[in-house]
């Protein structure tokens, strides 16, 4: 069968330009990075817009929430408060004010803790980051590993087992899984500590990175390190089950796609040993889609954290957002939304950059 059906736009792909040879575009890599950076900045600006709009949608008047009912009764105090926060200005002006405050990292004050949201976040973010990174590390190794393994054993028993396990992984509700793991792991078997990041009687290590495990290592307190690690295990297990399920499913289908490619057959026709074909040809081809899903899984990880932290009383971003949301502490909720949104955009921007590193077609147009 001659040339397989070329797409209708073969002309564009193969278009011969009128001589002389086409001018090579400016450095292609620079152009790719600047476009991706532009889009990311646009998205970050979008996030600030979303959080600003949300704060103004509130039916409940923020004034009473912050000042409390007694003070809210006195018009003088209310007027003074509104002026202070610029609430009397027009919306666009308020937005500019909001942006200015953001640039000075002023995320407003939390109604619950009466402290600047920024300080709350300084404590909450490292706790969630430690949990998230611990889970991501384990999940990427395990998840991608069994996903690739299943694809290579396609249509055989191992493949079906992995499919079912990963499906269960993503089907179980995280908050329920957290409870089950908490109940069995801590309450029933008592193998691992149930809640919190450290036993109460242990003194937390001096804060360097905010990561209990890392800081205790830096401080040389091995006992604290072991205890902190133990506290990570149960909530970590809950989030790992979901993330492994997600990564296994995606890696499996990414590898299956690559296995159908002709360059894999050609690699086999070169008589290369199985492991070379797998690692050098198959995985290299599947690396990009897998990288994308790892970036995306960070998002679902944060979602999961919100639910898991409430069960394990883990004072991280998730629990802070939960308490803020249920008590209508909007400044805090928007602060969390902003931090999480920006982090997520940055991670996906880094994934875009890795695309250029891995795929020569992107770096050399």
């Amino acid at each position: 069968m001659p040339r397989s059906g070329e797409p209708l736009t073969a002309e564009v792909a193969g278009a011969a330009t009128v001589p002389p040879a086409p001018r090579r575009g400016r450095h292609p890599l620079l152009r790719y990075v600047s476009i991706r950076l532009g889009i990311s900045v646009l998205l970050v600006w979008g996030v600030t817009l979303v959080t600003f709009v949300m704060t103004n949608l509130v039916p409940a008047d923020p004034v009473t929430a912050v000042l409390g009912d007694a003070a809210a009764a006195d018009p003088e105090v209310v007027a003074q408060f509104r002026r202070e926060l610029g609430l009397d200005r027009s919306l666009p002006e308020q937005y500019l004010l909001y942006l200015q405050r953001l640039l000075h990292l002023d995320l407003g004050t939390s109604a619950q803790t009466r402290r600047p949201v920024l300080d709350d976040l300084r404590e909450a973010v490292p706790a969630t980051a430690e949990l998230a990174l611990f889970v991501l590390l384990v999940s990427v190794v395990v998840g991608v590993g069994i996903g690739v393994f299943a694809a290579l054993r396609h249509r055989r028993f191992a493949d079906d087992v992995v499919r079912v396990v990963s499906l269960v992984g993503i089907s179980a509700p995280t908050f329920w899984l957290a409870l089950v793991v908490f109940y069995v792991g801590f309450y029933r078997l008592g193998w691992f500590p149930g809640s919190g990041r450290l036993d109460t009687q242990l003194v937390p290590p001096p804060q360097v990175t905010g990561f209990m495990t890392v800081d205790s290592l830096l401080a040389g307190q091995t006992a604290t390190f072991v205890n902190a690690l133990a506290h990570l295990l149960l909530p970590g297990l809950v989030l790992t089950l979901y993330t492994v399920g997600l990564l296994a499913r995606f890696s499996r289908s990414a590898v299956l796609d690559v296995l159908n490619q002709e360059y894999v057959t050609a690699a086999r026709a070169k008589g290369l040993p199985g492991r070379v074909v797998t690692f050098r040809y198959v995985l290299r081809g599947a690396l990009l889609p897998i990288l994308t899903v790892v970036g995306l899984s960070f998002g679902s990880l944060l979602s999961g954290a919100v639910l898991t932290e409430t069960v394990f009383v883990w004072h991280g971003l998730g629990q802070y957002a939960y308490q803020a949301a249920t008590r209508l502490d909007l400044q805090a909720v928007m602060g969390v939304g902003l931090v999480v949104g920006v982090t997520y955009i940055t991670i996906n921007f880094v994934v875009d950059l890795l695309y250029a590193v891995i795929d020569p077609r992107v770096r050399r147009q």
Binding site: P2, R3, G5, E6, A10, E11, G14, A15, T17, P22
Partner: protein, 262 residues
């Protein structure tokens, strides 16, 4: 008589974000006279398929103009295609994508007949005219081979009662043994109903078989044009000579065409 397609100094450019714009066609001029079969040949990327898309109003002309029986051809975008241009129809390259997989063959032929129902032949006649058993009318496209699907696509084009039929590499995806057969079918079916034919292909020996005149394109430009036998026996342009010299002949003599590297 109707069915005249004129390309007058036509230029088409593709702008791709961030990359230098590409001139796919550069001041191309030739015409397809009523009732004539013109072969448009050239290597991939020479602009021949772009001309086909331009003739169907799928791409805009950056310069010059294409007219069909006097009506200028401009992209119609989301609007309905102008009525006068409906007598210009096209057969595409990939048989596996030229029919709607979700609809029976008869229904798709009826759609085409709906343009000029009075004069359009019946579905059975259409299928017979392309060498297919009318009983197959109730089947779905996935139940046909590549060659059969291409025949159905030809029948659909002819069902509209066209004055001009354009084949954009209609045989490129078929087996060599079917290519000449389907090409000849297109010629016979077109001439039988006074339809002119613009046959676009990179396969010069098939084009030689069915074309009255031949237009040779290279890198977006028309480099030579003339009656088929004259272009074959006495090609003027060096590029045409190279193209003709490169065609292997099925003469059993084992001579590998000798082509000086570009």
């Amino acid at each position: 008589m109707a069915g005249e397609l004129v390309f007058d100094e036509v230029t088409v450019r593709y702008g791709r974000p961030g990359r230098p714009t590409v001139t796919a066609v550069d001041r191309a001029s030739f015409r397809v006279r009523p009732g004539e079969v013109v072969g448009l040949v050239g290597e991939s990327g020479c602009g021949k398929s772009t001309l086909a898309k331009l003739a169907c109003g799928l791409v805009p002309a950056a310069g010059g103009r294409a007219t069909f029986d006097g009506t200028p051809i401009t992209p119609y975008g989301l609007r309905k295609r102008p009525a006068q241009l409906l007598r210009l129809q096209m057969v595409f390259q990939n048989p596996y994508a030229s029919l709607n997989p979700r609809r029976r063959v008869a229904a798709q032929l009826q759609d085409a007949r709906a343009i000029h129902p009075a004069t359009a032949p019946s579905v059975d006649d259409l299928l017979r005219s392309v060498g297919l058993d009318p009983a197959l009318r109730t089947r779905y496209p996935h139940q046909f081979s590549g060659g059969q699907r291409q025949r159905i696509a030809i029948a659909r084009a002819m069902a509209t009662g066209p004055d001009l039929l354009i084949g954009d590499e209609p045989i490129a995806s078929l087996d060599a043994s079917l290519q000449a057969q389907v090409a000849t079918l297109m010629r016979d079916v077109a001439l039988a109903s006074d339809t002119s034919l613009l046959f676009i292909s990179h396969d010069l020996s098939v084009v030689r078989l069915i074309a009255d005149r031949v237009v040779v394109m290279q890198a977006g430009r028309v480099v030579e044009e003339g009656p088929t036998e004259q272009v074959w026996s006495a090609p003027q342009e060096a590029y045409t000579q190279r193209l003709l010299a490169a065609i292997p002949l099925a003469d059993g003599l084992g001579t590998i065409p000798d082509v000086a590297p570009a």
